[in-house]
């Protein structure tokens, strides 16, 4: 009765069940990688809450400032986006190099990524200082809705904190990987964090900057 097909599907079922019955990793990833994914999901929810709060305040306000001129603000933010996307491709290269145990090359790609993160921070702090110079504070600004400053500084500030932590994290991994203290898994997991920081900016850039661009 049982032909070859039946036997094959029986074995498939068995292996699928055994994957969920303990003793085998059902996700086929190392535990700390699953840990990083769970952290990323929870951190994504934190950012989503802040973005929703920002959108709530903006929708509830009869007017909202659009102070960002194409030069310097929008060009600056676009360059920041390009820098962050480029730092994501350098981290991809670091992960690839780490998988074939090219320890020096991995450290170099990670340092290139760190440079991208530092450049992003410098450009962003420059933007912050220029807004502060125009009189924008957490609860006041020259253009009206008092929470414009609060929502801008908190959203972009939390993201900048993530970038800064990422730079330190990648530095520790680059240092440790070169000295055989960390494995290729650790490089990949730090890369996951960095890509997440990049991903969050893909939403902040249009919501905070482009939708507040001064078009006239």
């Amino acid at each position: 009765m049982a032909g070859p097909d039946t036997i094959a599907s029986f074995h498939d079922t068995q292996s699928a069940e055994s994957a969920w019955s303990g003793g085998v990793s059902p996700y086929a990833v190392v535990p700390k990688k699953l840990g990083m994914w769970l952290f990323i999901v929870s951190d994504a929810i934190t950012f989503a809450c802040l973005i929703i709060a920002y959108s709530y305040i903006r929708m509830a306000s009869p007017s909202w400032p659009r102070p960002f001129l194409i030069w310097p603000s929008i060009i600056n933010a676009t360059v920041m986006t390009v820098v962050l996307l480029t730092s994501s491709i350098t981290v991809v290269m670091a992960v690839r190099a780490s998988k074939v145990s090219q320890r020096g090359t991995t450290a170099l790609w990670l340092m290139a990524t760190m440079l991208g993160g530092i450049l992003f921070d410098v450009l962003h702090i420059h933007e912050w200082l220029s807004l502060i110079g125009e009189g924008v504070r957490l609860f006041t600004n020259p253009w009206g809705p008092p929470l414009f400053g609060g929502s801008f500084f908190i959203l972009t500030g939390l993201h900048m904190l993530h970038v800064t932590i990422g730079v330190v994290y990648l530095g520790v991994i680059a240092w440790g990987f070169k000295r055989l203290k960390f494995t290729a898994d650790d490089v990949e997991i730090s890369g996951l964090y960095w890509h997440f920081v990049d991903l969050v900016w893909m939403f902040l850039f249009p919501l905070v900057y482009l939708l507040s661009a001064k078009t006239i």
Partner: protein
């Protein structure tokens, strides 16, 4: 030694460079759209659609999720999308605030 070599599987570098190119192109498109005189709601929908496409590219390729076992994506993504979706229940209240504001 053989086992180590057998475990190393690298996706083609070109795939990641193409994804990077797309991400840069979509960023350029977003900046271009910001200067088209469109209604705010239309602009919001267009920009968020592009951002979701960019996020999907980053998650799938850079974060490698499409190369992982499906169970990982099915565990993580529906929960995230559900929670973010639930946050949208707040928006009718923001409209209420706007409408009830004394003129």
């Amino acid at each position: 030694m053989e086992a180590t070599v057998a475990h190393v599987h690298l996706e083609p570098k070109g795939t990641f460079l193409i994804v990077w190119g797309w991400l840069l192109g979509l960023t350029g498109l977003e900046t271009f759209l910001a200067y088209q005189h469109l209604a705010l709601k239309v602009m919001l929908v267009m920009l968020m659609t592009i951002s979701i496409i960019k996020a999907s590219l980053i998650i799938s390729y850079f974060m490698h999720l499409r190369y992982e076992r499906k169970s990982l994506a099915f565990t993580l993504m529906p929960a995230l999308v559900f929670v973010i979706g639930m946050l949208f229940v707040l928006f009718p209240d923001s409209v209420r605030l706007l409408e009830m504001r004394p003129h």
